[in-house]
């Protein structure tokens, strides 16, 4: 184990009866990393976090925080963590200030240090106006801020945040993410969320879990590259409208453009995107290896059409996320009796899941993603 590993999980498994909430989850988080912990609802994000924060014990496997076992050195682990549980459960009858003071007392922070830290934390979390309010009077967004303040009050080296932005408005989210970048410089942060935009803006690395398993773990670029697909967005003028400029050729028909684009080398699939009557827009799936933007331009220019838009879109994190976790959703929507031969179908599904995560290049994948999008 490297000396820089702050959070270490090895083979974490958690069973509730016959249900496996976590199945052999292993990962490491190093010092100074801000890691996004992604997954659909019920994938085991919170369970993992609860194990790391010593709230529950894993059925098997080990977890260490700063080299200390969560089971054997639980108090040491807990004192080096700042944790914000999902939905920030706080004591509603306390005022914000009382709550922070309580958290500080439990963390053994003397009152002068507390005042210093509190000033800082209150500024960061934007709580100055609500310090003397009872927590029950606060909106969910503000409660979440208090939860965050509570997690920061003892200046912990490691932060574990379970959906910290779920109740924040867009402005607050942006602010929070900025702040996260700041504190992420000298701290280790593990942050769970469904919001992929947040991960893209705040984290350099992501771990994706699905049905209790880690299905992807790596730098965002690596994860994005997993599918090996590139998408091009093209739109071509359909009618002149108010624009004084028109191309040299005749105005194209929808099918004409689609067929022409489909004939280009390296194009796998052309799909029409919804637009207004002035343009035809298409999403083109291409191979990762080559760039066909020049070919597309040449085609449009040769035909005398007017190109309104062309850009190359590498796979978004969202697409990868969908592909990797699609099995979850499909299973949830399955009809028919689930009780019968549950275990048998379990195994089957898991195999399928492995396929999905392992051979992302296979042709089945894009199809699966499309099916999910529909």
């Amino acid at each position: 184990m490297s000396t820089d590993v702050m959070i270490y999980a090895n083979g974490l498994t958690k069973r509730y009866g016959s249900f496996r909430a976590l199945d052999d989850v292993s990962f490491e988080v190093r010092r100074g990393e801000v890691v996004g912990f992604l997954g659909p609802n019920g994938a085991g994000k919170s369970t993992t976090m609860r194990i790391l924060t010593c709230f529950i014990a894993p059925t098997s496997g080990t977890a260490k925080v700063r080299g200390q076992d969560v089971f054997d050195d639980t108090l040491a682990v807990r004192s080096s963590l700042g944790y914000l549980p999902q939905r920030a459960p706080l004591y509603l009858e306390m005022t914000v200030y009382e709550y922070l003071r309580f958290a500080a007392q439990v963390r053994n922070i003397d009152s002068s240090t507390f005042k210093k830290r509190a000033r800082n934390v209150v500024e960061v979390c934007g709580l100055a106006q609500s310090l003397s309010k009872e927590i029950r009077q606060l909106s969910h967004g503000y409660r979440q801020r208090v939860g965050l303040a509570q997690a920061l009050i003892h200046d912990p080296p490691i932060l574990i945040l379970d959906e910290p932005t779920s109740d924040l408005d867009p402005n607050e989210k942006a602010e929070f993410l900025n702040y996260l970048k700041q504190i992420g410089k000298d701290r280790t942060v593990l942050l769970s969320t469904h919001n992929l935009k947040e991960v893209e803006s705040a984290c350099a690395r992501a771990i994706i879990v699905s049905r209790g398993r880690v299905v992807a773990d790596g730098a965002l670029d690596e994860i994005r590259a997993k599918s090996g697909r590139v998408r091009y967005i093209v739109s071509v003028q359909e009618s002149v409208g108010t624009s004084p400029y028109r191309g040299s050729g005749p105005l194209p028909k929808q099918s004409e453009v689609e067929a022409a684009l489909g004939r280009l080398p390296g194009v796998k699939k052309v799909a029409e995107l919804p637009t207004d009557e002035r343009a035809h827009a298409y999403a083109i799936d291409g191979d990762d290896g080559q760039d066909i933007r020049a070919d597309i331009f040449r085609l449009v220019a040769d035909k005398g059409w007017v190109m309104l838009e062309l850009h190359r879109d590498t796979q978004t994190l969202e697409d990868v996320f969908r592909q990797l976790t699609i099995g979850d959703e499909r299973r949830n929507r399955q009809l028919g009796p689930v009780t019968e031969s549950q275990s048998a179908s379990d195994d089957e599904d898991e195999d399928e899941d492995e396929d999905e995560s392992d051979d992302d290049d296979s042709d089945e994948e894009p199809a699966a993603a499309k099916r999910g999008k529909r």
Partner: protein, 324 residues
């Protein structure tokens, strides 16, 4: 050696000794009122001993592989329990219900005591003994009312997750909850002293003669011990369920059943050893000497054991979340 290391050592050893520590802490508190016995000294010795033995083992875990010092930043157990207790008390005090319940209790207890079995004047003596016959069953309900939210509410709202992921031991959570509830119940019990103060002191109130205060205080001590046992049982029930209502009824039924099985009718009906056995575990027959102003050491031990039992079960139940 730095205090950090010492804390660490304490923590290590306490895992094995959680139960012992819990009992000890509990006894320390409870014994403040009665005489201190040798148990305490033994406990202290135990602690010192284990400190020494675990120092060597904890020394290597103090440094992480990164070579930096581990943070073990938490107050001593006593201060932690005090912090939790304070929070608990302030939670009670911030709610108007608490004051209303205490006020209503005072009125109801007063009326009940004054008019019970033909009224206070029937006795024709300056004594409060009658009060201690009437109050315990009502106290059982009061205890159930005050303990029902203790852990149930934390579980329901989810605050328990935040609390437990702070560097707090489970035993400290239980003891904090226990002392917090006990403090409020005790407040209600001590306010009972208002009755004799009104009745037997001189102006501006009645003066019904000189009251012998000793039996009264012994009775109050009995009520306090009864409250401690009841509160422990209440905390225990509230640790089992997320529902306050369920916790209330479970506690109230348990306490009233424990109280009622000691009634003369039942004990005489069973006769012989079953009757003895049942009266041995009954709150009523255990409390009876106190109501007459007698300090019964067996009863004190009974109440303290019941308290410990309740707290240990609550502790185990809280701990069981890890494996559920």
């Amino acid at each position: 050696m730095s205090s950090e290391t010492r804390d660490q050592a304490l923590e290590k050893d306490s895992k094995k000794k959680l139960l012992a520590a819990e009992e000890a802490a509990e006894k320390n508190r409870a014994d403040r009122d009665s005489s201190r016995d040798t148990e305490d000294e033994e406990d202290e010795e135990d602690e010192e001993e284990s400190n020494g033995s675990s120092k060597s083992t904890s020394a290597d875990s103090v440094t992480t592989p990164a070579g930096e010092k581990a943070i073990l930043n938490r107050p001593s157990s006593a201060r932690m329990i005090w912090t939790l207790t304070k929070r608990e008390i302030s939670a009670y005090m911030s709610s108007a219900i608490t004051y209303i319940v205490i006020a209503v209790t005072m009125v109801v207890f007063g009326l009940y005591f004054f008019f019970y079995k033909g009224g206070f004047w029937q006795v024709d003596r300056a004594t409060m003994a009658r009060m201690f016959d009437t109050i315990p069953p009502a106290l059982c309900l009061l205890i159930a009312l005050f303990t029902m939210r203790s852990l149930s509410d934390e579980k329901r709202v989810g605050t328990i997750e935040l609390l437990i992921t702070m560097p707090v031991k489970d035993s400290e959570v239980i003891l904090g909850k226990f002392f917090g509830s006990l403090a409020v119940v005790t407040l209600a019990v001590f306010l009972l002293a208002a009755y004799p103060l009104v009745m037997f002191t001189r102006a501006p109130f009645w003066h019904l003669g000189e009251l012998d205060w000793s039996p009264f205080w012994v009775g109050i001590l009995g009520l306090f011990l009864l409250s401690a046992a009841g509160t422990a049982i209440g905390v225990m029930w509230s640790s089992f369920t997320e529902s306050q209502i369920l916790s209330f009824f479970a506690t109230a039924l348990t306490l009233i059943a424990l109280y009622a099985v000691g009634s003369v009718t039942i004990v005489e009906f069973l006769q012989g050893w079953p009757g003895d056995a049942i009266s041995f575990i009954s709150l009523q027959s255990r409390f009876e000497p106190f109501s007459r102003g007698l300090l019964d050491s067996r009863a004190i031990i009974y109440f303290l054991s019941l308290t410990t039992l309740g707290l240990v079960v609550a502790f185990r139940s809280l701990e069981s979340r890890k494996w559920s």
